[in-house]
Amino acid sequence: MATIRIPEQKVILCGEYGVGKSSLFRRFTNNTFVTATDRKSTLGLDHYEKTYHVCDRDVKLQLWDTGGMERVASITSSYYKFAEAAILVFSLDNSSSFNALSQHLLDIVTYAESAKIFLCGNKSDLVSDLPQVTDSEIETFCEQCHNLISGIYKTSCKTTSGLDDMFTDIAFQLVHSNRSRLELQSMEKHGFKISPSEDSQDEESCLC
């Protein structure tokens, strides 16, 4: 049976340890939330795909989490490869996670050159009257990175506030910017994935 292939867009999560990347991932994957760091809840889970319908087109966001590699080591450069978008996450109640963004931004620009970058201030539920990271600081940061940032969002994984809007907007922006590129993307430039041999046998039998 022929199926229409919906283009997948690899979206990676970046940012300091503890800002809520896995919480974002968990919400995206199975819409749950846990307060304590609980590796078990995402153990073995590599990435997750969801289809969004924007501008009369289907687009599949494939969200990748770091697997906690950034806790003591660094993330492998291959994590960034083939990424179409990167969500740069910081915690609104933690200014040092905001100050560390430039290093993560540098990694994205270095290893995932073509990725669109989105800024996500997480844990908006924890922000008191005196925010640790102010709107003007965020604006200044975006100006400093020469408009590399394609979108700014505030989210809370605890209350789910802002999450849907963020992912839908990212899907929207990817469809727009990639429309021409997706169609031009030829096998010439890209390699192929290897798959179990049953597949290739199928193909052969079709040729007979």
Partner: protein
């Protein structure tokens, strides 16, 4: 670091990363440490190009080399057999989802100073310029025999017991001459020396089948190469390990492997910290007193601005120079990858010539390979010792991998890994243990 683990893995080379991934997937609590700041150890791909020049004490590359970031140069050249063990491991562990591959365009063999395409099916055998007319027919009959050969069906053995009779016997049965034996054993069965002639023919038959089955998978050649270089492979397995709960530490010096009663390993010390564990897995560089030198490998990285002559401008190639052709005891391997694999700037090619060292002058030994390449813009020669562990690790629970050999593919690499896994866990690796979680497949 001060915690207790089931296993501590030292070094993030390909073998250690595969082991780390397999152990994590099997439910073990794994700590994976590397003294370097980067993943991959010897199996890393060097990026940017400036780092490669620095590594070999050469002045920085000029602007003709393009952007340094566009280069990912392997230190150890190898290709994947499309139907080989590494591909099976990649598929079963799901690590294939992190990688994209390209088929290597050409597979050549050297004869009498020239290179020819490796003939693998009857049609190619008859068209090949490697043999005379009568020899071609004999070789064709031999290929048909191998193709039809079934392990389980003695009728296909044609009055020849390949489990007992040796390979020389099978060559003689088909009347194949020395030359044909040479490229069959070295370019199809991919043996490094001629010891196989005296071993049961079944081994060689299976290797030729691996070659032709691999060729059938994706066409042009039986070899695959990952986009962005071989350094992507260890990283993929490292991610697998992390996804299954493995903890990663880079840039961490290891000062001591701590042993307890009966010489069993009980932990690993770095500075004042000791991580406890039941087992340690590592590469030879972490335990110089527990490995012995087995030999030397010479490798030469060549940066070029053109493909290899007489290969139809292939953007990727392998050439095998069988030992006898150049009066040696081990083959010389030439491999070529290029900008199409995102391992070099546009218009650039990276060739590698390697072999097992047999003389006091290793650089002269690879000359027949270098001579095939045409003008070389930059050359980096390295000679590295090849180590193997002095014991099997069963008593100490310290399992040491062998250094990477001169072979041009990953079959021996995987064999070593699966063997270590079996010694370490007492069981064969169970590929079915890997859960295919949601997200892997659709729905």
């Amino acid at each position: 670091m001060d915690e207790e683990y089931d296993a501590i893995v030292l070094g993030t080379g390909l073998k250690e990363c595969i082991l780390s991934g397999m152990l994590s997937v099997s439910g073990k609590k794994v700590l994976h440490v590397d003294r370097n700041k980067y993943y991959g150890g010897e199996s890393a791909s060097i990026c940017p190009l400036e780092d490669l020049f620095t590594k070999f004490n050469a002045p920085n590359p000029d602007e003709t080399y393009g952007r340094g970031r566009d280069w990912n140069v392997d230190l150890i050249p190898k290709f994947l057999m499309a139907n080989g063990s590494l591909v099976k491991l990649l598929i079963h562990t799901g690590v294939t989802r992190y990688l994209e591959f390209k088929s290597v365009e050409g597979s050549y063999v050297y004869k009498g100073g020239k290179i020819s395409k490796v003939p693998v099916d009857q049609k190619e055998a008859l068209a090949s310029d490697l043999m005379g007319m009568f020899e071609k027919r004999r070789f064709r009959n031999f290929l048909i025999y191998v193709q039809d050969f079934q392990d389980q069906d003695p009728r296909t053995w044609k009055d020849f017991d390949p489990n007992i009779a040796n390979m020389q016997g099978l060559y003689d049965k088909f009347g194949l001459d020395r030359n044909t034996q040479d490229f069959t054993g070295h370019a199809l069965a991919l043996y490094r020396d001629d010891d196989y002639l005296n071993r049961p023919a079944i081994e060689t038959i299976n290797r030729i089948k691996l070659y032709s089955d691999s060729l059938a998978r994706y066409g042009k050649s039986p070899y695959l190469y990952p986009m962005y270089g071989l350094g992507e492979l260890p990283q993929g397995f490292a991610r697998l390990s992390a996804i299954y709960g493995g903890t990663y530490m880079l840039d961490k010096a290891i000062d001591e492997i701590v042993f307890g009663e009966g010489g069993r390993v009980i932990g690993v010390r770095s500075g004042d910290e000791v991580a406890k564990c039941k087992q340690v897995f590592c590469d030879p560089s972490y335990v110089p007193d527990r490995v012995r030198k087995k030999g030397k490998v010479v490798r030469c990285i060549c940066l070029m601005d053109h493909p290899i002559p007489n290969t139809k401008d292939a953007l990727s190639t392998q050439i095998i120079i069988p030992q006898k052709q150049v009066n040696r005891n081990s083959d010389i391997y030439v491999s070529l990858v290029s900008h199409t694999h995102q391992v070099a700037a546009k218009g650039w090619f990276v060739a590698m010539v390697s072999t097992t060292v047999e003389t006091e002058n290793p650089e002269a030994e690879i000359k027949p390979g270098l001579d095939l390449l045409g003008p070389i813009r930059q050359k980096f020669v390295s000679v590295s010792d090849y180590y193997e562990p002095t014991d099997d690790g069963i008593n100490s629970q310290l399992f040491i991998s062998q250094s990477y050999d001169a072979t041009s593919h990953f079959e021996t690499t995987c064999q070593d890994v699966l063997d270590i896994f079996k010694r370490g866990t007492g069981e064969e690796f169970d590929f079915s243990k890997i859960k295919h979680e949601l997200g892997d497949e659709e729905q």
